[in-house]
């Protein structure tokens, strides 16, 4: 933040806009347009009827304004109604999937960050034999692409009889990721020793120091990491696709892909599909809306990966 204000004042060369600057701004505007237009197109399509979409494919505004797409995505329409409006008539209950996604992402985020913070504290601030070796092992874990562990993890989850449960989806990433431990350890290492020593003098134990001093001090990195973890687990598709088979454990990404695959004979139910897309995407947009400034500045000033 500080860097932003200083650099804008330092830059004195705001002479007449050169041609280069105008071109650069035009390029920037085009980039923003390509970035944002698909979002508008989701909304525009979701509010249109399928028949009107086919007749006016290029109309910039919603055509045949309707909430039918949303009703279909949320399972509020009867099969007959749905088919009449160009839907598949298969029962998809996005409320249920929304709830599943919230449960899974919350479980993963809260547990992963908490356990990772505990481990990071042990690596950064406690003395124990083998610490550096164990940490080296964790670092090596960073090198294993997540995708490599998916197949064996599926076999494990199956042996644990957790296939098709929300816990089965959450479990592998619930305890830690090497990155979270690494990132938080880095933060704890940078907290001045004096802070800890002052608390020690006051008679606080190490446990107390972790919960009452270090954890509150780490609220900004923890929050950033938390929001990014939430977004990552919300958007995960491959792993939940392997583990969930029925509505009881189906999350939004998987449901959306199933919706897309249920192509009715007449063609895609674009209106319903875009409504479902919006339902899947909106919570993350809202979440980001709350924390955008903090996340953006954390990523762009520390290069969190």
């Amino acid at each position: 933040m500080a860097a932003v204000t200083t650099t804008t004042t330092v830059r004195p060369t705001r002479r007449r806009p050169s041609i280069g600057r105008i071109v650069a701004w035009a390029v920037m505007a085009a980039i923003l347009l390509i970035t944002l237009l698909p979002f508008y197109w989701i909304l525009r399509t979701a509010l249109s009827t399928n028949t009107a979409l086919a007749a006016h494919p290029g109309d910039p505004l919603p055509v045949g304004l309707t909430a039918g797409g949303f009703e279909r995505a949320l399972g509020l329409q009867s099969a007959k109604e749905a088919i009449a409006q160009g839907g598949a008539g298969g029962g998809l209950k996005f409320w249920r999937y929304l709830l599943n996604s919230v449960i899974v992402s919350t479980l993963i985020t809260v547990c992963q960050i908490f356990f990772s913070a505990m481990a990071a504290f042990a690596f950064a601030r406690l003395r124990w034999r083998g610490r550096d070796k164990v940490f080296g092992l964790f670092l090596a874990g960073l090198m294993v692409p997540a995708i490599f562990t998916l197949l064996p993890n599926f076999v494990l989850i199956k042996q644990l009889h957790l296939v098709d449960t929300l816990l089965g989806i959450a479990l592998p990433t619930m305890f830690m990721t090497p990155f979270a431990v690494f990132f938080l350890r880095q933060f704890f290492m940078n907290v001045p020793r004096e802070v800890e020593e002052a608390a020690l003098l006051d008679g606080a134990g190490k446990v107390r120091i972790f919960f009452r001093v270090l954890l509150p001090m780490a609220s900004t990195p923890v929050l950033t990491l938390g929001v990014l973890t939430y977004i990552t687990s919300w958007n995960d598709y491959f792993w939940p696709l392997m583990v969930s088979y029925s509505d009881s454990s189906r999350v939004l990404t998987v449901a959306l892909a199933i919706f897309r695959a249920q192509t009715p004979q007449t063609g895609y139910d674009w209106s319903g599909l875009m409504a479902a897309t919006l339902i899947a995407a909106l919570p993350m947009l809202v979440l980001f809306g709350f924390f955008a400034r903090r996340i953006v500045s954390t990523i762009s000033f520390t290069g969190i990966k």
Binding site: L126, V134, T149, N153, F301, G303
Partner: protein
């Protein structure tokens, strides 16, 4: 393992033997007074170590083991030695999917890196508005599935707005995702759309580390923005660029979601990327052993690339020092 053996008394002699600096020594002395943190550390590290061992270390070893077995999930895995690897080497579809994957990665990473660099530099030189950086990041908030479905619609041959615009400009509609030649570049660009903002912010972080007075000095010398980019920005960004490149290439090789929701490997295996083929082998044909062997191959390819990139770009060094 390490933790169970770290009971305080046994560590004391070891402690005395190592350590040099005075600061360390006082720290150690203090730890000795407190009786060390062994037990507390065990409690604090336990959940993460459990997760690490059970869901990362063990699966990694098991994945390698399974690659030497025949395993259909229902009956116990049967050791078959190198059979899966022999089969893999002779499997034309495997080689084809590897080729398709590499083609995808080259387009995806090529376009994404150039675009991210351009956007990051534009942001750095034009405005450092956090709002714009936030907007650039928004597609990253979508899942690959959402991005895939949205662009499937936008690029639909008949009704998609993309093709409507192409038609209005007087060109023929392009079957982006239904054509063998267009499908991979299209998927690669869809994923550029979703990921470029994140890469941009990582590069932007690197740009912020370049001191402003370097640009000021160059300007005094009459250097153009173009020249400054090549002489200041790019050389000083190189270490960050290298790390970001390694990260994004590794991510790019794992492409699956977008293929699964747009083309499902088609048309005619044109988008049958490696991860999609692996998934099909495991969950379509229940050949977990063969799927594991291909995963190991992918792991080796990724390790080799990481190593090579690291060496070639001297990722560890910084000119800013």
């Amino acid at each position: 393992m390490t933790i169970a053996s770290s009971s305080p008394p046994s560590r004391l002699p070891l402690r005395g033997a190592e350590g040099a600096g005075t600061e360390q020594r006082t720290g150690r002395a203090k730890a000795r007074e407190n009786g060390g943190d062994g037990r507390l550390a065990a409690v604090f590290i336990a959940p993460a170590l459990l997760g690490f061992t059970v869901f990362l270390l063990w699966p990694t070893l098991r994945g390698i083991y399974l690659s030497f077995t025949r395993f259909n999930l229902l009956t116990p895995a049967k050791w078959v030695g190198l059979d899966n690897y022999v089969r893999m080497v002779h499997d034309p579809i495997f080689w084809d999917s590897l080729k398709v994957t590499v083609e995808y990665v080259v387009i995806n990473i090529g376009v994404q890196t150039v675009a991210a660099l351009a956007i990051a530099v534009l942001l750095q030189r034009l405005t450092q508005s956090a709002v714009l950086r936030g907007i650039v990041l928004t597609p990253y908030l979508m899942s690959n599935v959402v991005a895939g479905v949205v662009w499937l619609w936008i690029l639909d041959t008949q009704l998609g707005i993309g093709n409507q615009i192409i038609g209005a400009l007087g060109f023929d509609h392009i079957p982006f995702l239904a054509d063998e030649h267009w499908a991979i570049p299209t998927i690669a660009l869809i994923n550029v759309w979703r990921h470029v903002g994140y890469t941009t912010l990582l590069l932007f972080a690197g740009l912020m580390a370049i001191p402003d007075d370097m640009y000021e000095a160059a300007r005094v010398d009459g250097a153009s923005e173009w020249r400054m980019f090549w002489r200041i920005t790019l050389p000083l960004l190189r270490p960050v660029l290298a790390v970001v490149l390694i990260m994004t290439v590794i991510g790019s090789f794992q492409v699956f979601d977008t293929v699964a929701v747009t083309t499902m490997g088609g048309p005619a295996n044109a988008t049958n990327v490696l991860q999609y083929y692996i998934y099909g082998a495991a969950f379509g044909r229940f050949q977990f052993g063969y799927a594991s062997a291909m995963s190991v191959a992918l792991l080796l390819v990724l390790s080799a690339i990481t190593f090579l990139q690291y060496r070639l770009t001297r990722a560890g060094q910084s000119d800013l020092g």
